[in-house]
Amino acid sequence: MKAFLSTFKEIGRYPSAIAGLVIIGILIIISIYALVTIPYDEAVRLWRGGEDIWYANPKTAPPAWFNFFSRKKQPVTLTISSARGEAEKEVVPGSADTTDINLTYTFDYQYDDFPTELTFYFTSKFVSKQPFVAIRWITPDGRELRVADFGINARQTYRASQDEKLTRRLGRLPAEVGLFADPNSDPAKPVPLKGTYQIRIEGVVFEPDADINAEFVMQGKLAGWAGTDHQRRDLMVPLLWGTPVALAFGLVASLGTGLLTMIIAAFGVWYGGWVDELIQRITEINLVLPFLSILIMVGTFYSRSIWTILGVTILLSIFTGGIKSYRAIFMQIKETTYIEAARAYGASDMRIIFLYLIPRIIPVLIPGLISGIPAFVFLEASLAVLGLGDPVLPTWGKIINNAFTNGALYNGQYYWVLEPAALLMITGFAFAMLGFSLDRIFNPRLRGL
């Protein structure tokens, strides 16, 4: 315990170690947050979901915070749903069975550019008589524009940009431009009118229990805190979920490899003879095997599941150079007097290996384990970049892979590559910084250097 505390104090002397620890702590908090707010099944559903989940998002839109850094404010995607109670809903019973249902949507528009699409998603409840709606658009300067009037089905989508009549009424301007354009601006180069807009949907239902709800979606040029990809998916989901996946893969692979290597090396040294010989030969054979090719083959031929890849990674990483250096250290420890004493009083082989041999080299092991993590985190990303990522789980590497295959760098969608890359880099550097500092603490030979 005292040794532990003094180690901790020692860490305090290395700023890079503290920085590394802080970052790792933040990453762990993000992981826990991701796991709690988006359960596994939900994450998989969101990541694999198509238009029905992500219809409200524009394709490949940069994140909303781009506006903070730009003088020209781009419109951010906005959804207002009456079913979720975000719009004002007024129900006025009329004569006979008819009822007027008025929905009012109010939003503030303070952008310098026009949105990309305006869509209304209607849901209605009726038995035989279709409800009827009229959409009115009220601009900040008080003009009231007629958008459309039509009867609706149980589910109906109205896209303003595809309404030819509306376009004609707006003087040949596309709906998403015409509805926002300042009437005093040049029609050839329209400028949006800033202020509070209002949409009124005046609905009429012709049955006692009938109801109308509508969701208004303004697809802007920016969306969410992380932007969206080519399938309209919010990148926040894979960015959040990539954190626990990357940490788990790195930690399990590094710990698994390190501990197994150490135990196998200890067994080899303790029993000697053919056990030792066998381990040495396996190590040499493993040196001949092409590591990455085998991983790619396993990914292509057998299974792309992250756990299979993890298992093979550990298996192939055990018998490498590490086992030789552990062996060299164990050889020295084996000859020390306290091991001799243990043997003299009749300690069992297992007791000697697990209680006397292995604990001695844990100080050497820990820095190696931590500096080993980034390599595995990047390995998972590398495989994903080659298209061999886990088929169901969202990971950072898969975002980069998607971005690459869709030419994000050619098209200037830098956020798509930079967000996961930055997270990968931060994670890698945090563990590397901590590992290097620990190495200096635990291996005093390096301390002065």
């Binding site: 001949v288 292509t300 970049v385 760098l409 880099m425």
Partner: protein, 381 residues
């Protein structure tokens, strides 16, 4: 570093020298033979494992059979010449064609038998013909496919890795002279950046130099269409090489410098170096005779391993930069289940590695008088 060292026993009686010499000779011969045999067995087992994995223990055969049958049945049903055949006749014809094709590829024999034939061919470097891949000149010979891609891999990775190796050793040496200086601290701070692989830096370099500044190409090896005269061609290749080499160098230079620097520092704090300093030898002599000399085996080892590492190229770096090298060939071969190409690339790597390890044993004995070949235990890199 892992070579077995033995202290020289000084003051051996002169009369036993001759006997000792012949002893040494037989010991060296015995050791050499034993070493060769173990290395060969290692290669054999390694290659056999690769063959098993590359064939998924025979499952790739099933995939290939399915592909052959599908290709032939589609071909027959689309061919108007077979329209008059009855369904029985047609299926009989398809079966015959499938059997013929399977025989051509050797699929009619059980996998266990064929795996040993593969092994024999691989070991005798009879690499055979690819299943699906062809070289750019249209050949199916695995040797040609490999040879066609080898120059581009050697060019890029050769230049990048040689630059990386020599610059890091020399920078490290000069840092170890002025340890604790400003640049020394800079390198120390930058060391963790080597946690990221080359392709990762590649992305950033592409983003900055190709996408934003538009001064260097996104990837590939030469402009399309390729320039006519050789000078422009070489210039174009050079331009395409800048970013991938930079990525390769950036990804490991700081860690490499740090490791060499620490290594040199450990050796320059040895007692005999202190002694040499006390004797008043000049710094250059101390460096050459007392620091570089004992570290030579390690430098040679890592240089040799670097050279054979060139063989595999770098699958992902080549993919990111669209560089037509061996790494991408291997990746494509895996995607096409093209076992002969996978095994061909692996066996050459295995042979290169085995030969290098063997040569290193001998070179150790030559450059380091402390190493005795065939001493106790089976040492070696």
């Amino acid at each position: 570093m892992s070579a077995e060292t033995q202290a020289l026993s000084p003051g051996q009686p002169i009369k036993v020298k001759r006997k000792a010499f012949s002893n040494t000779l037989s010991r060296v011969a015995k050791y050499t033979a034993l070493r060769l045999v173990t290395l060969f067995v290692t290669v054999v087992i390694g290659i056999y494992l690769t063959i098993l994995i590359a064939n998924m223990g025979g499952y790739v055969d099933e995939i290939l059979r399915g592909e052959i049958r599908e290709r032939i049945s589609v071909g027959v049903s689309n061919n108007p010449a077979f329209r008059d055949y009855t369904p029985e006749e047609r299926s009989k014809y398809i079966d015959e064609r499938v059997a013929l094709e399977e025989e051509r590829l050797g699929l009619n024999r059980p996998f266990a038998v064929r795996s040993f034939a593969f092994l024999r061919n691989a070991l005798t470097l009879n690499l055979g013909r690819a299943i699906n891949m062809t070289s750019d000149s249209g050949s199916k010979q695995v040797t040609l496919i490999i040879l066609e891609r080898l120059p581009s891999t050697l060019l890029l990775f050769g230049i990048a890795n040689l630059a990386l190796f020599f610059s890091s050793v020399f920078i490290a040496l000069s840092l170890s002279r002025h340890y604790g200086s400003f640049w020394d601290k800079v390198i120390l701070v930058l060391t963790p950046t080597s946690a990221a692989p080359p392709w990762f830096y590649g992305i950033f370099l592409i983003l900055i130099f190709a996408a934003l500044l538009k001064i260097l190409p996104f990837g590939g090896m030469v402009d399309a269409p390729p320039p006519d005269n050789w000078f422009d061609y070489a210039l174009s290749v050079l331009r395409h090489m800048i970013l991938p080499s930079l990525a390769l160098i950036l990804a490991s230079i700081f860690l490499s410098i740090y490791n060499w620097r620490t290594f040199f520092l450990i050796y320059s704090s040895e007692d005999y170096v202190e002694m040499a300093k006390a004797k008043g030898l000049n710094a250059r002599d101390i460096e050459r005779r007392y620091i570089l000399r004992p570290t030579l085996p390690t430098i040679i080892t890592s240089f040799a391993l670097l050279l054979i590492g060139l063989w595999t190229g770098a699958i992902i770096t080549e993919t990111v930069f669209n560089w037509p090298g061996l790494g991408r060939t291997l990746f494509r071969a895996i995607g096409l289940y093209d076992t002969p190409v996978i095994v061909g690339l692996t066996i050459i790597y295995a042979y290169l590695l085995a030969i290098t390890v063997f040569l290193l044993d001998i070179i150790y004995a030559l450059v380091d008088p402390r190493v005795k070949v065939g001493g106790s235990g089976g040492g070696g890199a």
